[in-house]
Amino acid sequence: MNPLVAISIGLHEIAAHKFRTCLSMLGIVLGVSSLIATMALTRGIEEGTRIFMQQMGGLELVSIVNKEPSSRKYEFANLSPGRTLRDAEAIRRSASFISHVSPEISLNTAVATEGGGNPDRRVVRGVYPDHFVIGMHTVAAGRFLTPLDIERGSRCTVVGDTVAKKLWPGVPPQLIVGKTILIDSRPFEVVGVLALYEMEEQARARRAGKRSTRGWDPFRQKNEAVLVPFTTMFHELRSGAFPLDSLDTMKLETLTVRVADLDHFHSALDQVQGILDITHRGVDDFDLDTRQDWFDRMESSVRAARLSGGLISAISLVVGGIGIMNIMLASISERVREIGIRLAVGARQRDIFWQILIESVLVSLLGGLLGILASLGLIEILKTISPTENVPVLTPDAILLAVGFAIAAGLLSGLYPAAKASGIDPITALRYE
């Protein structure tokens, strides 16, 4: 029998029992829509994570973070000087697998134009030139901080796009370079303006002349940067607050290194660990936090979300499949006579088998299509209630997967009724009332 004929017979059968078919499709509709919604949701979380990771830098970055020393070493924990510029210096000199080292201190203080215009409180950060690479910066105009700036402790600064726009609204970055700003009432020369960092979506919205509606901006911190040389920060701004510190003993706020080559990632970690063991005098008051660790943590939470959503969808699909099987069984016991007649005029058992199977797949496919429609609505609802950085993303492979599962559910649940129908004895079936 031509499959098209079987499809047409199936469609007629479905059309003849619309309400019953709708009921039997319900499980499939729920399963498919929840599967697509789950995939979109976890995809959105992944996307949010990816953007976040992008903003935080690549896998090459390793943060050296403070840690409570283990109890065994607690008694001589005060022997360790903590994270200082000496750590940075030692890593820079001795760790051959590390390409960049960025120690950082900061100060929350007032920033204004010369003469005190447009004042604002900002986090001013004292950094080394390596921060340009580690922070993944681009300059729109001027230059970044140089080793000479560090050596001389010069009063120069590089500002982010948001800061520049706030201080000098409407002035292009090229004209801002060379101007003077007041940081904590001390004049600093602006030597560079950073590019505007934004996501593709925001860039599109800006080009189209619309305001981006998203409240969360992963690049906000970078765009609001006010960067000065580390030494300048220490001597000019911080020494008043911490008079007992020297440049070498002052505790760093962050210390980030960049691994030169990911192939030697673990060797690089070993090197850093070894060097810091010495500078910290054997006290384990630090930890190496890799982006891989972050990534794994986020990945595993996404996986957990996907698994639980997938499980719910799977249960719905199984229930939906059972629903279809139920209806198909009811349908064939109602159609015993019809099957008998078809057999009498020359239908082979496999014609009956395919007819029932195709009908079952048609029901599930129809349920799948309705499920896709339902999922579109569901995703719209999720968009309004989910955190902005994790907006659900609908992908074609999610739809394909869901439809695939729907068809599989239809096939599996149609097998038994189809086998049962094709095993009907024509003589009994013709006598059946």
Binding site: N2, V5, H12, I341, R342, L343, V345, G346, R348
Partner: protein, 226 residues
């Protein structure tokens, strides 16, 4: 070479420990173009014989050749193919599909013969016109009278141009006037060269045939020309 050749044909049903011999060593030859009636009371085995001849069932023992094919041990698919191409059925209860219109009912065997859709409809329309239903094509069986239903069934039996036409009490559900009309159609078909096998319990109907076979307790007890 006979069209139908039965030799020592038996059919045994097992119900629990009991054996029921519905057919017991039946021998029968039917030639092409014959008009034959199988007569017997209910429970005589005539329906079983009819089901075997109609390839709806397989025998327990014996030889069964139909249209030159040995079908005693045939597979279900082979039997389906013979039912589709060589045999047309007309049942007492019409056995039409109530959801399909007249044309689709008539075209039903052609679906399983693999005939393309356009040709199916053309052939079904032609046969419908031949049985006098040219104006009822779009009706569905519940909207037709008994006589019209039986004509649809005859058209369906004829649409694939089979060599043998089986009638299983074809007038049983009809009043005598309509019944007569249907029997006249069988006469006409016989005249046009079809082999016709009528199964009935009514000697008056059997009398229209050229050869009557009487069955009792699973055996052919008498054979005569009316």
């Amino acid at each position: 070479m006979s069209l139908i050749h039965l030799e020592g044909l038996s059919k045994v049903y097992r119900v629990g420990d009991q054996e029921i011999r519905a057919l017991d060593e039946v021998n029968l030859r039917i030639e092409e173009g014959e008009f034959i009636a199988i007569i017997g009371s209910s429970g005589s085995g005539k329906s079983t014989l009819m089901h075997l001849l109609g390839c709806l069932d397989t025998p327990t023992a014996g030889r069964m050749e139909i249209c030159g094919k040995d079908l005693a041990k045939a597979s279900n698919d082979e039997l389906a193919s013979v039912r589709n191409r060589e045999i047309g059925f007309v049942f007492q209860a019409f056995n039409l599909l109530p959801k399909l219109d007249v044309v689709s009912n008539i075209a039903l065997p052609l679906i399983y013969a693999g005939v393309p859709s356009r040709e199916r409809l053309a052939r079904a329309r032609k046969v419908a016109a031949d049985v006098g239903l040219g104006d009822r094509l779009a009706n569905r069986p519940p909207q037709l009278s008994g006589g019209q239903c039986q004509r649809v069934a005859i058209a369906r039996a004829l649409v694939n141009n089979p060599r043998i036409l089986f009638g299983d009490e074809p007038t049983g559900n009809l009043d005598s006037a309509t019944g007569k009309m249907i029997l006249e159609m069988f006469d006409t078909l016989h005249a046009s060269g079809k082999t016709i096998v009528l199964v009935t319990h009514d000697p008056a109907i059997a009398a229209r045939s050229r050869r009557v076979i009487e069955i009792r307790d699973g055996r052919i007890t008498r054979e005569y020309a009316p």
